[in-house]
Structures are given as C-alpha cells and as structure tokens.
C-alpha cells in the first residue's frame, strides 16, 4: 500500500478497521474526537457499528459486552474520560477480555486543559482501576508507529485475553504524517471459544465474569492473571535504544517527547555532548532490564516527560541505584523545549562529571 498523509486520530481508526475491528463505542472528548468521528463515517461502510454511548462509563461497559460476545472492539477517550472508565477497565481485565482502549492524554488534573500531556503514565501502567491487574500499554512516537501498534494491539489482546491501551498525547492525535498500513507479524491466536454467543452448537455454557466470593478462588484467579503477566513481560517488552553506544547521559522518554529528545541529541552532538535515548515503547511491560543494562554504560539517566515525573519511578526501579536518575518535565499541556532539556543536561553533566 502506498503511503498516505493522515491525522493521528484518524490513522488509529484506519489501522483498527484494517485489523478487523468492527465495533467502536465512545464518548466525545478533546483531543481525540477525530477518531470517533472517523469511525462513525467509516465503520458503517465495512458493516461495522459505531455507537456514541451516553457516557464513558457506558462506553466501556458496551466494550465489555461486545468483547464478551467475541468481537474485535475498541474505545477511546482522553484523561478525564479514562478515569471514568476505571471500574469498567478493571472488570474487563478481571474477566480477561481482549479489547483496545486508546487514551489521547491531555493536561490535568480535573478538567485541566486540552493540550498534550503525559500525566496519565501512572494511571495507564499502575492503576487503570482497582485491584491487581495490568494493561499492556503501548506508546507510539509517530503516526506510522501508532498504526503499527494499533494493529498489533488487537492481536496482543486476543493472544493474552487482556485489554491493551495505546497511549498518545494531543499532539500525536492531531498531527499528520505519512503512513502505510502494514500487517503485524502473524501470531497464532486462540479461538474465542469462551465468548457468549449462545450455547447453540456447544455443550457448555459460557459465562463472562469477574466475581469470586470465595477468596481462595479469587486468589487462584489472581495468580493465573499474574502468571499471564509474567508471560507478557517475557514476550512483549518493546523499546528503542538510540545513540547509546557511549553516552554521557541517557535520556529516557516515550511518545512525542522522545522525538524532542532526538532533536536535542543532534544539538548536543554539535557541542560535543553525547546523549543517548532509551525509548520505552511498551510502558507496561516496562523495559526495566534495558535500563539496568545501560546503567553500566552511562553516568546518569534523565527522565523527560510531559508530566511532573511519573515514569521516573520505573527508571529508578530499573536503574536500581547504579546511577542517578534525574528529571526534566513540563506539564499542564506545555511541551518540553529542546533548549530546556539541553540546559538540564548540561547542569547534570556539570555536576556528574
């Protein structure tokens, strides 16, 4: 397929449809509206269904129902709307249903603003709801990667029977870049023989459920989930290591922020400072081992985020005290500027040299 120029939000929709997603339930919120709008236009053309739900709570529960019925289904929202989906996400994870949840993050807390942010890192990776569960969280840095990851996310979800979140920021949702929709590498996907499609043709009932009143049973279920998470941690860690052969410092950044860091790397080179970049692509599972390994080759890490510092916790856990972890961030919809990052790097290296 030839490349086309697409808006991030629309590219997500195109990729999802290409991946066989035929159901979208959502509720409007800036800055992701182009995605539901695209779906409302395009899904009917392929026999799919777009339904605007009465709220985010309803939307995630529609996804819960549709996923239980065996469909490839997705929803999307932005920060406050994702908060509202927290209970439903926990149910979907508990019931082990596959689906895609897109979060085009905006500045918070509360109503906040509508400009790009990365302040839902904790929400996405640690606590998208109550209880012990995990979402696979994928953070693309370009529209091309976004479409690749969206398409793969449906396979990952189906393979592990687990919800996947693709996380972007308002910038990534709004910008246009050339994309080519390309199939992900083929996975062996299990049949959805657990789906509630009616018992006709089978001699057992299917029940979608997250309740276990007996704590021993609920613990067993949790241990099963944990075993699955260990499996995902083994198989699905994704990251990019860039210019890390001999770095003075390694910046860690994801999404659009990582692109700004790449600019900084170029600028720093001009001044003889060698900055590396580790870019987590899967925020969960987080590439702890990669951080740990590169801790031996750098003087320090710098977490660059559009937040007041959330991923830094994971970097610290990965670095495990081997090297100091610094932070530079902008928040509330402000975007880190190369100069600011560079100044921070110089400050750190001045101190760390």
């Amino acid at each position: 397929m030839a490349k086309v120029l697409m808006k991030g939000n629309e590219a997500i929709g195109a990729a999802a449809i290409k991946a066989g997603c035929r159901f979208f339930f959502g509720y409007p919120i800036t800055p992701q509206n182009e995605l539901p709008e695209y779906m409302s236009r395009e899904l009917p053309k392929v026999g799919g269904t777009f339904l605007q739900a009465e709220s985010e709570v309803a939307a995630i529960n529609m996804v819960y129902g549709a996923a239980g019925a065996g469909a490839r289904v997705m929803t999307s929202s932005s920060s406050p709307g994702i908060s509202l989906k927290a209970e439903g996400i926990s149910y979907i994870a508990g019931a082990e249903l596959p689906c895609l949840i897109v979060n085009i993050v905006r500045g918070g807390p509360g109503l906040g603003g509508i400009q790009p942010a990365q302040s839902d890192y904790f929400l996405a990776t640690k606590a998208a709801g109550h209880g012990d569960f995990r979402l696979v969280v994928l953070a693309p840095a370009s529209i091309q990667e976004m479409t690749d990851l969206v398409m793969e996310s449906f396979d990952i979800a189906d393979q592990y029977r687990n919800p996947v979140m693709v996380i972007g920021d308002g910038m990534l949702g709004q910008m246009m870049e050339p994309v080519e929709l390309r199939e992900p590498k083929k996975r062996d996907l299990p049949a959805k023989d657990w789906a509630t499609t009616g018992t006709a043709g089978r001699n057992y009932r299917n029940v979608i459920n997250s309740l276990a009143l007996d704590p021993a049973e609920l613990e067993k279920h949790n241990l099963k989930l944990q075993a699955k998470y260990r499996e995902i941690e083994k198989n699905e860690v994704k990251y990019e290591v860039y210019n890390c052969d001999n770095p003075d410092i390694i910046a860690v950044a994801y999404g659009t922020t990582s692109r700004i860091v790449k600019n900084v790397i170029g600028k720093c080179k001009e001044e003889g400072i060698n900055v590396g970049l580790i870019r987590p692509i899967s925020l969960w599972p987080f590439p702890y081992d990669v951080i740990n390994e590169y801790a031996d080759r750098t003087k320090a890490f710098l977490s660059v985020e559009m937040s007041t510092g959330q991923m830094i916790d994971d970097i610290k856990i990965g670095a495990n005290g081997k090297k100091p972890v610094y932070f530079y961030g902008r928040t509330g919809g402000m975007v880190p500027e190369p100069d600011g990052i560079m100044a921070e790097i110089k400050k750190i290296l001045g101190g760390a040299k």
């Binding site: 529960n61 819960y64 129902g65 549709a66 019925a69 009616g198």
Partner: protein, 249 residues
C-alpha cells in the same frame, strides 16, 4: 395417565438458588427461564446478570451469561446485542442497579430502542449489601441507611421507573407486574413472554418491572413480606401495562 402440569424448566441449571427463604427472586428467575424455554430461544440467549442479590444469576440461567458491573447491564447488553443482533439478549436487574446507579444506562438503552429485554426486580431495598435505602424505598419505610424511615423532604418520593421510561419513544413494551400470588405470577409470566416477543419482533426496548419481596432486609417472614408488598408497594407502584408496541410511534 399422569400429565406433568408443573415441572422444573430446562431454562434453569441444576444449581439451587442461594436466595433467602421466601425471596421472590427465585420465582422471577423461574418465569424468565420458562419463557426462554417455551419460546425455544435458550440456545441463542445471552443473559446479563447485575450486581445485587441476583449477581449469581449467571449460575442459574441455562444459557450464556455475562456478569455486568453495577448498574451497567443495559450498556453491556447493548454491546452484546450490537455484535449479535440475531441473539436474544436480556438483563436482569435490581432496583439499586437499575434505578439508582444505572439510571443513565437504562434511560439511554430505552431511548435508543435497544432490542433487548430487561427484567427489573423492584424490591424497594438494597438486598445484597444489607438493606440500604433504594430509590424505590417507600416513604416511611426503614432501611439501614434510612434508620428513621425514608423522608420525603430528605430523599424525595420514590421513583417510578416504568412510568418514567414510558415517556421514551424507544421503549416499545413496558409493564409492571407482581409475584405476590399465583394469579399475579401467571400474569407476570405473560408479560415477560410478551416482552421477549417484542424483542424477537425487533420492535425496540422491552422491560417488565416485577414487584418483589426481600423478607430478610424488610425484617419480615416471607408471608408477612408478601402481605407488605400487597398493602404498600402495589398502591404506590400500580400494576399494569404502560407501553405496548401499538403505541410506538
């Protein structure tokens, strides 16, 4: 020659109900199950269980089941039915579930005319959690969170969901029934059957509100509870049909 006039329906699994003695949830389960069996749709039915005493409904109905989050059964059912338009989908919900936390979901499913059937069990209290006030708790009725009885000035008059939902065009069939006597139970079954038929004919959203007892949390014997329902609930929640497909615009 002996003829079976009443036998356990295939619409129910073998699992004994966990409900309290005399709780009419059991009757309502049976009616729904019988209707599914009689309409021959068991194999293509998907039920949605609520959060409430009937949360374990997924153990009882002999068809595929989906356990929803509290109040969101209509959204879950919407998701299922949109994916599987030729299946029979129903929700089974209590009054806390449907008339309190799930108000938006039931109103909008009805507005959209979602083609599923809702069995709404109104027992004027929160059973599962231990007798807290429901939006349907009667004025003066005591509850663990209304220890001095529900007061109109404080919590308003109870909500009549059938009446309210009947104002929506998408609601094709709405009827309120009660399971306080064999005669009313038979009427209830007819209404439930009709509701599923409306679904099968694709006419829109259908709901049967069933007045039910909660002897445990009302602090009564099952017999007293039936009488209390008759004396107090039926006068405030009049039985009858509120909406039929003929009236759908």
């Amino acid at each position: 020659m002996a003829e079976q006039v009443f036998k356990r329906t295939k619409g129910l699994t073998e699992r004994p109900f966990h409900y309290c003695p005399g709780c009419t949830h059991g009757i309502i389960h049976r009616l729904v199950a019988e209707v599914l069996e009689e309409l021959g749709v068991l194999e293509k039915s998907v039920g949605v269980a609520p959060v409430g005493c009937s949360v374990l409904a997924y153990d009882y109905f002999n068809c595929d089941m989906h356990e929803a989050s509290h109040g969101r059964a209509p959204a879950v059912a919407t998701g299922i039915k949109r994916v599987l338009p030729d299946r029979v989908v129903f929700t089974y919900q209590g009054d806390g579930d449907l008339a309190s936390i799930g108000t938006a979901e039931i109103v909008h499913a009805a507005m959209r005319g979602e083609k599923f059937t809702t069995i709404f069990v109104n027992n004027a209290i929160y059973g599962m959690t231990g007798g807290q006030m429901a939006p349907t708790t009667l004025v003066g009725q005591k509850a663990t969170t209304a220890p001095y009885g529900r007061q109109k000035d404080h919590a308003g008059n109870p909500i009549r969901m059938s009446e309210m939902l009947s104002t929506l065009d998408g609601a094709a069939f709405i009827e309120r029934v009660s399971v306080n006597s064999p005669a009313n139970i038979r009427k209830a079954k007819k209404a439930i059957k009709k509701a599923f038929e409306v679904q099968l004919e694709g006419k829109g959203f259908s709901m049967v509100e069933v007045l039910s007892t909660c002897p445990t949390n009302w602090g009564m014997t099952p017999k007293e509870a039936i009488k209390w329902l008759e004396d107090n609930m039926i006068p405030y929640y009049p039985l009858g049909n509120f909406k039929s497909p003929e009236e759908v615009k």
